[in-house]
């Protein structure tokens, strides 16, 4: 039974690439054939990954598979190895879930566009690239998958090339992405030159105990490479444009998978391969970048006028949460970060799908032109509210559970190391969470409530096949929030163990006993002690009171009575909005004129931010280079 399971990872990845190849050939003209091919191959890879859950998570095994059956020869890995442990599978599930739902969504969402043959090819290439990156055990194979992912993503960003700014954002993504890949490749070459192997398991055993200047430089370069891929602050600018101009089903995949791939690469290499995260410098470096990303992301989001650009900046800020949490280096921190990555995939995917639905129904995502959609699109409004409440961390939803774990981890780290920096991180995390709530209140008021604008008068509800993925995502958001103890026990603890316990990873791959020989001790990690917030109890109380109060208030409320005012001529009636007696004409408080008090006080900061985000590629590459230089210098000074 075990050997069949071994083949599933490679089947999953290859089926996607095969699907891409076939869609390009057969799917060019005929719609049904195209959809069928895509659906079949997506289903294959989905089932393969889901089948792996039982062995990896419940039984705690690690699946290793050598391509072409090239077993390691007397201790040296030659072939490319696929290794799926709890951490890889955790991210694989997110990736698989995202692109399956996006496929279902894009069947109807993209029907108005042309060249759909190319769309599905690129989509399957992108999904295959990310899935390959997450499952591979070989560092160079990971680089190849990163390249496939980046180029597919660049092409998909410019898919609607008639849209203003699509080509420009694709070009920016290409430039910054290649700079990042360049750094990763140089890092990998340095590591390969130093350790003569590309297999991650063997690498971590070699690197565990001897650090040479070249490996330190490789560490810095790979840190920058995957920082660019996960859109940390200095490298976040292409993400904002790419998510905004790509079609919504693609931006959902971007924010659900692509930046998660960057985070996975960072965790895998920093924690497992280089095993550097126990050093305080690396911890402070990653947490500092995470905190800045958090803060810049959300403050920029508050100033946006476009729905999807606002969501893009929120993706950047939530990734800042994940990086800051993982940067803490403690078991609670890493499991909080992983949990937040999972939640982020769920609620951000949901929000992008809602943005797509709004675009499908009204044709625009400009916050100033939308308004009062909740009466015409009630189901989308409900889904959006669930997504908005989860991202801003209101208790019953999943955003709260993960953010709360992150606050506890940061505060615990602060007390443990008596270092005020972590207290500052906790404070910034809480304030950023409130600002996230602020920007989503802004979107709720601008798009869904308030007075209907002329663009939204004839908006209709989106077709059912677009609503199914939204409902799945909303249900998952609520379930993850309520049964977070279950999620913590079954999903997060194995993944955190995989992060901290490199020796099991090495033995499984290279044969038993290999790790001790290389001096890697098996660090077992007890599950994160969560203090006792029990959402189910809270939910029961909430429902009891909700029912009690409803009975009291809503019994028998319809009271008629004769009209006291004998109207002489037609005066618009009692249910019109109160305008101080004036005739109620259309006046909608849209997104851009909210939070005046806050923006006025932070005028200087916003002017500076506007200056920094100039939209010019040279500036962005300048920021990338400066940030890389800073990281390299910091790492070289403090780690020796």
């Amino acid at each position: 039974m075990m050997n069949i399971m071994q083949h599933f990872p490679i089947i999953a990845v290859m089926s996607l690439f095969l699907g891409a190849f076939l869609v390009e050939i057969f799917g060019r003209k005929n719609k049904i054939v195209r959809n069928m091919i895509t659906m079949v191959f997506v289903a294959i890879s989905f089932l393969c990954i889901i089948a792996l859950i039982k062995p990896v998570f419940l039984d705690g095994e690690v699946i290793s598979y050598w391509l072409g059956n090239w077993e390691p020869v007397n201790g040296y890995a030659i072939g490319i190895g696929y290794e799926v442990d709890a951490l890889s599978l955790f991210f694989a599930i997110l990736v698989v879930l995202t692109f399956t739902l996006s496929t279902i969504y894009s069947f109807r969402y993209m029907e108005r566009d042309d060249h759909l043959g190319h769309y599905y090819t690129l989509f399957l290439m992108l999904s295959g690239g990310v899935l390959g990156l997450v499952l591979t055990g070989d560092i160079f194979n990971m680089y190849v998958m990163v390249e496939i992912m980046t180029f597919a993503a660049v092409a998909l960003t410019a898919f609607r090339n008639y849209k203003k700014g699509a080509l420009e954002s694709a070009f920016k993504y290409l430039v910054i992405g290649s700079v990042g890949s360049g750094f990763t490749l140089t890092g990998i070459c340095l590591v390969y030159m130093q350790c003569h192997t590309l297999n991650m398991a063997q690498l971590s055993s070699i690197l565990a105990n001897h650090l040479t200047p070249t490996t330190i430089l490789a560490l810095a370069l790979i840190f920058i490479g995957f920082g660019v891929k996960s859109f940390m602050v200095p490298f976040h600018t292409p993400a904002a444009d790419a998510y905004a101009t790509a079609p919504s089903s693609i931006s959902m995949v971007f924010s659900g998978m692509v930046n998660k791939a960057g985070v996975y690469g960072m965790i895998r290499l920093m924690f497992v391969v280089f095993m550097m995260m126990d050093k305080t410098t690396m911890q402070i470096l990653l947490t500092a970048f995470g905190t800045i990303t958090m803060f810049v992301g959300v403050t920029m989001a508050l100033a946006q006028h476009d729905f999807k650009r606002l969501l893009a900046f929120h993706s950047i800020s939530q990734i800042g949460y994940v990086l800051a949490a993982c940067g803490l280096g403690t078991a609670l921190g890493v499991s909080g970060g992983l949990f937040h990555a999972m939640n982020h995939t769920l609620f951000k995917g949901l929000l992008f799908l809602c943005a797509g639905a709004v675009y499908y129904a009204t044709g625009t995502t400009n916050l100033d032109k939308l308004g009062g959609l909740s009466k015409r699109m009630p189901k989308t409004a409900v889904c959006f509210l669930i997504g908005a409440f989860s991202i801003s961390g209101l208790p019953p939803f999943n955003g709260f559970a993960s953010k709360w774990m992150i606050y506890q981890a940061a505060w615990g780290k602060g007390i443990e190391t008596n270092n005020f920096f972590y207290v500052f991180v906790t404070i910034v995390a809480v304030v950023v969470s409130v600002m996230t709530l602020a920007s989503f209140i802004k979107v709720t008021q601008a798009v869904f409530f308030g007075q209907p604008s002329e663009k939204c008068v004839n908006a209709k509800e989106v077709p059912l096949s677009m609503r199914i993925p939204m409902w799945i995502m909303s249900v998952l958001c609520i379930l993850a929030g309520i049964f977070y103890n279950f999620v913590n026990a079954n999903l997060l603890t194995p993944a955190t163990n995989a992060v901290f316990n490199a020796s099991n990873y090495i033995d499984r791959m290279m044969g038993a006993g290999y790790a001790e020989a290389a001096g890697v001790t098996a660090a077992t990690v007890e599950p994160a002690k969560l203090s006792y917030w029990d959402p189910i109890l809270w939910l029961i109380l909430f429902v009891i009171i909700l029912a009690a109060v409803c009975i009291v208030i809503l019994t028998g409320k319809r009271t008629r009575g004769e009209v006291l005012v004998n109207k002489t001529e037609a005066v618009d009636g009692k249910y019109a909005t109160f305008f101080g007696g004036e005739k109620s004409e259309h006046s909608h408080v849209s997104g851009s004129d909210l939070f005046w008090g806050f923006k006025k006080n932070w005028g200087g900061y916003f002017k500076f931010m506007q200056g920094m985000h100039s939209g010019d590629v040279n500036d962005y590459s300048l920021y990338t280079v400066i940030a890389s230089a800073v990281i390299i210098i910091v790492i070289f000074i403090f780690i020796h």
Partner: protein, 320 residues
């Protein structure tokens, strides 16, 4: 058998003692005291103490007009959701060592539970579809941002003082710590935090100088403009209950040491202290100052009050 008793106990806790009835009566009484003392400070007789009860039941009798531009479902559910979460929050706050369900939540959870009523007001106002409400919710949100920073600083300071070395976020833990040593406020390093908390309470509840969100004169009651009848009554009740909850949170954090054994007496003492606190921090400031512009309110909270809270956090962090 015990499961049945436990369900009954939970129902009792939720609906009667620290739950709906207790909070309903104490909240509205506190609002009554607030209005009466305010009147007396202005040398006028002022309404009877039970005036908020009359207001509430009158609003129950009024007809509810739901405007066309409003989203009917959200319009009705918002106030009730706010009330439900407020009553549940009260269960998590210990009444001097008697904690109905205080084992199940800590400070950060309570802070986030307190954002639900504010969000309920905001979403309710936004759902009512009036431009006045739009301006109102924007101000309400900025008020929330402004008092969240000092609030988290205060809580971290108290948690660090109470916890010492290990992570202590639970409120009952803090109350026990105060019972073991002397009152929270007696530790001089916590006094700036207590002062900051006294300034945060009016903003969270939304009384006069900080009620820019519901300014009757400028934007006709802000988010509540389109509300009438029962939903409006519930929103007014929410404000009163929030007044009670915030003051009892202050009592737990800083005056938690008192314990007389009998739960009923504890509840009475809690109410008395809350009444004193309300008069001190809400009514007096209401009688003496005028409403702030939203921009000044934000600047006030993020400079003066946060500085106070930061001082005590640093003092506690150094170990004093």
């Amino acid at each position: 058998m015990t499961v049945f008793i436990q369900i009954l106990l939970i129902l009792f806790h939720v609906l009667v003692f620290p739950g709906f009835l207790f909070v309903f009566v104490c909240g509205l009484l506190l609002a009554g005291i607030d209005r009466k003392i305010l009147a007396r400070m202005q040398k006028r007789v002022g309404p009877p103490l039970l005036q908020p009860f009359y207001d509430f039941f009158k609003l129950m009798g009024k007809e509810t007009i739901i405007p066309d531009a409003a989203n009917k479902a959200v319009y009705r559910i918002a106030p009730i959701a706010g009330l439900a979460s407020l009553v549940v929050t009260m269960n998590f706050i210990p009444v001097f060592s008697f904690s109905a369900m205080s084992f199940s939540a800590d400070i950060i959870v309570i802070i986030y539970l307190l954002t639900i009523p504010a969000v309920a007001l905001i979403v309710g106002g936004s759902a009512s579809g009036s431009p006045f409400a739009g301006v109102g919710i924007s101000r309400e949100m900025v008020t929330m941002i402004s008092y969240e920073l000092p609030l988290i600083l205060i809580l971290l300071a108290v948690a660090k003082k109470a916890g010492g070395a290990e992570l202590c976020f639970s409120l009952s833990g803090i109350v026990e710590w105060q019972q073991s040593t002397y009152l929270g406020i007696a530790h001089w390093s916590l006094i700036p935090a207590a002062l900051a908390m006294l300034l945060v309470i009016p903003a969270e509840v939304g009384t006069q100088p900080f009620d820019t969100a519901e300014a009757e004169t400028e934007i006709c009651e802000g988010p509540l403009i389109e509300y009438s009848g029962a939903p409006l009554g519930v929103f007014k009740l929410n404000t009163a209950i929030k007044m009670f909850i915030m003051t009892s949170l202050f009592t737990c954090l800083f005056l938690g040491g008192i314990d007389t054994g009998i739960v009923a007496l504890n509840a009475l003492i809690l109410f008395a202290i809350d009444a004193g606190l309300t008069i001190l921090c809400m009514t007096f400031i209401h009688a003496v100052t005028a409403r702030l512009k939203i921009e000044h309110l934000f600047k006030f909270y993020w400079t003066i009050v946060s500085a106070l809270a930061l001082i005590s956090l640093i003092l506690v962090w150094i170990g004093l």
